[in-house]
């Protein structure tokens, strides 16, 4: 039992990273109805910028994180302005493919910059493990986990209680209606991309803390997208719950199924989960079921 | 009203339909008879389109039966019902917007074409013959609805009235045995409406098939239909000849509200 819990907790720590990426994707989907493949790159660039200021220039954490936020938000803003805005009114699949194109461009720039090297974030969080009744948890990952929870709470508060949040919710329901009630939908789109980029930076820093910054980093975007879809795309709660769950499923699956099938369960666990969810509940575990009108 | 007297085409017996908490149709019975134009009227949200959707299989009522040629349609899929010869049009024009008008109509010949994928790949001999034969068939309908000029235009770019026409022509191309028209004249000006009404009558004259019409324009309804059924909040509140309906108190109440 204690071993199972240990695996589950470890999975949950990874899952919180997925959840963060998924949250960034959900934010964008909620108000713009764009499903984004590009967020993996925002995550990677967020981590890279952070590294530039912390590792490269040696700034302290709280100073270094601000330009990382600003620069990544700028990328988010540019994506929205230059590529997605012209597509308003086009079929949604076009926007999906557009984010895929953006992924390619950013991926090219990312690997061009790295040239096969690895960038490592300096240790800015306390190291070591804590021991909770036999289950050991690395402190820096636990802080990342708490940051994720905090961010989720903050996001739902923003959505619930601020004016911009209200605008975002209204926009999510119906673009035209929102426009009609005096909300500048275009501004909302920009805000949402900025907000989403900020979440992506946090996700990027937390991920780079675990896996370093290299070629594979942007691909966490795919895991994030899987989580977002399984959670229901318009549900922050879904992103959190499914993110944590997926981390657990992957880890526990690898722990108990690997010996049975000869290894490699982690390769496919997420995809199998995605297929199952899509077949059983196409609109995700926490998503709104929409009735198709004729 | 018994079947033998009027020769019913479709017999709808007490169908009920529910979405969540909303009772869309409540125990509606109706007979669509051979050789008549039947109108279904009622205020917005009365369940008229849901009624159509039940007949052609988009929705499956939880109670009641829809009998057509002795067959129960309630559990069948839409494409099965279509192949039995029930065609319909849509309130909000649902065309294949990427195809030309001609191909839209050819697509409607689907149930009459027998050649499969493999011979389609070869497009040789029988397939070609079949294509041409069906093409001749739809040219008749193009002539009937006077749409020669838009034959090769992509329907997405056509004006509203023309698209409505394509929608109707497409239903006709199926060589239907029953035709359901969902607000064919909505959003049209008077001239277009007159044209449309003429087409409906032409079709009826030519094919002698029962036509069911959902329509808001009372003048048209009173002019061209033989019988009228009235729905309100999912319930059939009246049925009868145009003259009877005009003076029916419940109908007036439904339209004008309670005094």
């Amino acid at each position: 039992m204690i071993e199972f819990l240990q695996q589950a907790i470890t999975g949950m720590m990874i899952g919180s990273l997925y959840a963060l990426v998924a949250a960034a994707i959900v934010l964008v989907y909620k108000s713009t109805h764009v499903v984004s493949l590009a967020h993996g790159q925002l995550v990677a660039f967020g981590a890279l910028f952070f590294w530039l200021f912390i590792g490269g220039l040696g700034l302290p954490f709280w100073v270094g994180i601000i330009p990382a936020f600003v620069l990544t938000a700028l990328i988010g803003l540019l994506i929205e302005r230059l590529t997605l805005r012209p597509l308003i009114g086009q079929p949604l699949i076009a926007a999906f493919l557009m984010t895929f194109a953006i992924f390619l461009v950013l991926e090219g720039v990312f690997v061009l910059y790295l040239k096969g090297e690895t960038r490592t974030l300096p240790a800015f969080l306390p190291e070591g493990n804590m021991d909770i009744s036999g289950i050991s948890v690395p402190i820096n990952q636990f802080i990342g986990f708490l940051a994720a929870l905090f961010l989720f709470a903050a996001l739902s508060l923003i959505f619930k209680y601020t004016k911009i949040g209200l605008g975002m919710r209204a926009t999510a329901e119906d673009h035209r209606l929102a426009q009609g009630t005096g909300i500048t939908v275009r501004n909302i789109f920009s805000y949402i991309w900025v907000l989403s980029a900020i979440v992506a930076v946090v996700a990027g820093i937390a991920t780079a803390n675990v896996m370093d910054i290299y070629y594979m980093l942007p691909y966490i975007g795919i895991s994030g997208l899987i989580v977002a879809i399984c959670g229901g795309l318009d549900s922050l709660l879904g992103a959190l719950v499914v993110g944590l769950l997926l981390g657990v499923v992957e880890n526990v699956g690898a722990a108990y199924l690997d010996p049975l099938v000869g290894g490699g369960v982690k390769d496919v666990a997420a995809y199998v989960v995605l297929l199952l969810v899509l077949l059983i509940r196409p609109y995700g575990l926490f998503g709104l079921v929409r009735i198709e009108r004729i | 009203m018994s079947q033998d007297k009027h020769n019913a085409a479709i017999n709808i017996e007490g169908i009920s339909l529910r979405f969540g908490g909303v009772q869309a149709l409540n125990d509606v019975s109706l007979e669509i008879r051979e050789g008549e134009i039947l109108s279904i009227i009622g205020p917005n949200g009365a369940g008229k389109t849901s009624f159509f959707n039940c007949i052609n299989g988009f929705y499956h009522p939880y109670k009641g039966e829809i009998l057509y040629q002795g067959k129960d349609l309630t559990r069948l899929k839409p494409h099965k019902i279509a192949s039995l010869g029930i065609a319909r049009t849509f309130q909000n024009i649902e065309l294949f917007s990427g195809l030309s008008a001609l191909d839209n109509l050819m697509a409607a010949r689907h149930i009459h074409m027998k050649r499969g994928a493999l011979s389609g790949c070869l497009f040789f001999g029988p397939t070609r013959k079949e294509e041409i034969a069906n093409r001749e068939r739809i040219e008749e309908i193009i002539d009937l609805l006077e749409m020669e000029s838009i034959r090769k235009k992509v329907v997405g770019s056509l004006p509203y009235g023309e698209r409505k026409k394509v929608d109707m022509a497409r239903a006709l191309c199926m060589d239907p045995k029953v035709l359901l028209l969902d607000e064919p004249m909505a959003g049209m000006n008077v001239e277009e409406k007159e044209d449309m009404a003429r087409f409906v009558l032409d079709i009826f004259e030519l094919k002698k098939i029962p036509i069911v019409l959902i329509e808001h324009d009372m003048d048209v309804v009173m002019d061209i239909t033989h019988r009228i059924a009235v729905l309100d909040f999912g319930t059939k509140i009246a049925e009868g000849l145009p003259g009877e309906i005009k003076n029916n108190e419940r109908v007036l109440k439904a339209y004008l509200g309670e005094e």
Partner: protein, 404 residues
């Protein structure tokens, strides 16, 4: 076939003809070296510095007037770990005048190109797949095969086990990428472990880019592993060992890696976690490489400051050095005008014993050996530095133990 298609085909033809006109140009007295390398994919960390070393050796040779007046052209193609891209790149450059050697830096690509190489009677270099030693053909490997080096690690493990005064057999765990490369070590390595009487745990495989490796590490630790071998190309082994360190199992379990394990650059950042890690390498690592004047001078000349020096650069240099050596032999035998890739193939088999300036053991290519060298050195991370704990020692032949 429609009229449209007809016209398209003519366009294809026109475009192709014009490209074929463009691409047919040749130079005087030049031979070519094609590197199909992954500069932007999962094993870029190895290929980029490797090809730098290679390129610089060739540049240096050209600067000194080439080999008997023959200059060497370096063609580097980024394959992105993509077999299709690599194969089509090979086909594109296949008819490059006097393309003598193809260096395919990835297991999948190497195996795909090997067939074509065979057909074209050319020569290919690949990292370390024992398969090519088992079936002697025209594909050569850089050093000892993966399984040989792994067997050398096992040898060291036995030594270490005895040195610690333990009795019984050590238990060894293995975890690596879930792909062809990750499994190559075991073809022969497993048999060798059995021969030594080592208890070999069921191997663990994970996808490249896995975030945490705790599951695999704890399972191996639970099964009683005394040694865990972390596969994959850096930064994967580094990340695996970091996870092991975070789990606290590096205290009890000795971590080992093969020659794509942590480099001095990565160790500088994760010194604490990697402390004590054992690296089995067929080329010089760490300060040894950095202080090798032959290597350092070339780096300084072409790449500047030593701050970003990566010892894989040295390994790349050894590819270039063997190429130059073999070219000398080939030119001596047939001369430039008659030089064919097949002559180069023969020449590579004649440079047995060629000295690689200490970067790597003596060249071992011969008609019966596809191994670039036979020796490995065992290194250990001590105080953030990679320190040799043995001299060059001969890696056991594990390839012959497996039925390929």
């Amino acid at each position: 076939m429609g009229k449209r298609s007809a016209i398209f085909l003519s366009i294809i033809l026109a475009v192709c003809l014009s490209i074929s006109g463009l691409s047919s140009s040749s130079f005087a007295k030049e031979v070519a070296y094609l590197s199909l390398a992954d500069y932007t994919g999962p094993i870029a960390g190895l290929n980029v510095p490797g090809d730098m070393g290679l390129e610089d050796v060739l540049k240096e040779t050209n600067a000194k007037g080439g080999v008997d007046g023959v200059k060497i052209k370096f063609i580097g193609i980024d394959t992105r770990y993509d077999v299709a891209r690599a194969v089509s790149a090979y086909k594109r450059y296949r008819r490059t005048p006097r393309l003598l050697v193809v260096n395919s830096i990835s297991t999948g690509i190497g195996k795909a190109v090997a067939r074509l190489i065979e057909r074209d009677k050319r020569l290919q270099l690949v990292p370390g797949d024992g398969e090519f030693q088992a079936h002697i053909q025209r594909t050569f490997i850089w050093g000892p095969a993966y399984q040989d080096a792994f067997a050398a690690t096992l040898d060291w493990i036995m030594d270490d086990w005895k040195a610690k005064g333990k009795s019984g057999a050590p238990v060894v765990g293995y975890l690596s990428w879930d792909n062809p490369y990750g499994r190559e070590h075991l073809r022969g390595g497993k048999e060798y472990a059995a021969k030594l009487g080592i208890k070999f745990l069921p191997p663990e495989f994970f996808p490249p880019g896995t975030l945490k490796h705790d599951v695999y590490l704890t399972r191996l630790a639970k099964a009683g592993a005394h040694y865990i071998h972390a596969g994959g190309v850096d930064p994967t082994p580094t990340n695996v060992i970091r996870d092991a360190y975070a789990l606290g199992i590096t205290k009890k379990i000795q971590m080992t890696t093969d020659y794509w394990g942590p480099t001095a650059l990565g160790i500088g950042v994760h010194a604490k976690a990697l402390e004590g890690t054992v690296i089995t390498s067929f080329y010089q690592r760490g300060d040894e490489s950095r202080n090798n004047p032959f290597v350092a001078d070339l780096w300084k000349k072409y790449r500047g400051s030593m701050a970003k020096f990566n010892e894989v650069y040295g390994m790349g240099m050894s590819w270039g050095m063997t190429y130059v050596a073999a070219l000398k032999v080939a030119l001596k035998t047939v001369g430039y005008d008659k030089l064919t890739p097949d002559d180069m193939y023969k020449a590579y088999q004649k440079i047995t014993g060629f000295d690689k300036q200490g970067i790597q053991g003596a060249c071992a290519y011969s008609p019966t050996s596809r191994r670039g060298s036979l020796e490995v050195k065992i290194y250990r991370v001590k105080n953030g530095k990679i320190v040799p704990i043995t001299g060059w020692r001969k890696a056991p032949d594990a390839v012959s133990l497996h039925k390929f």
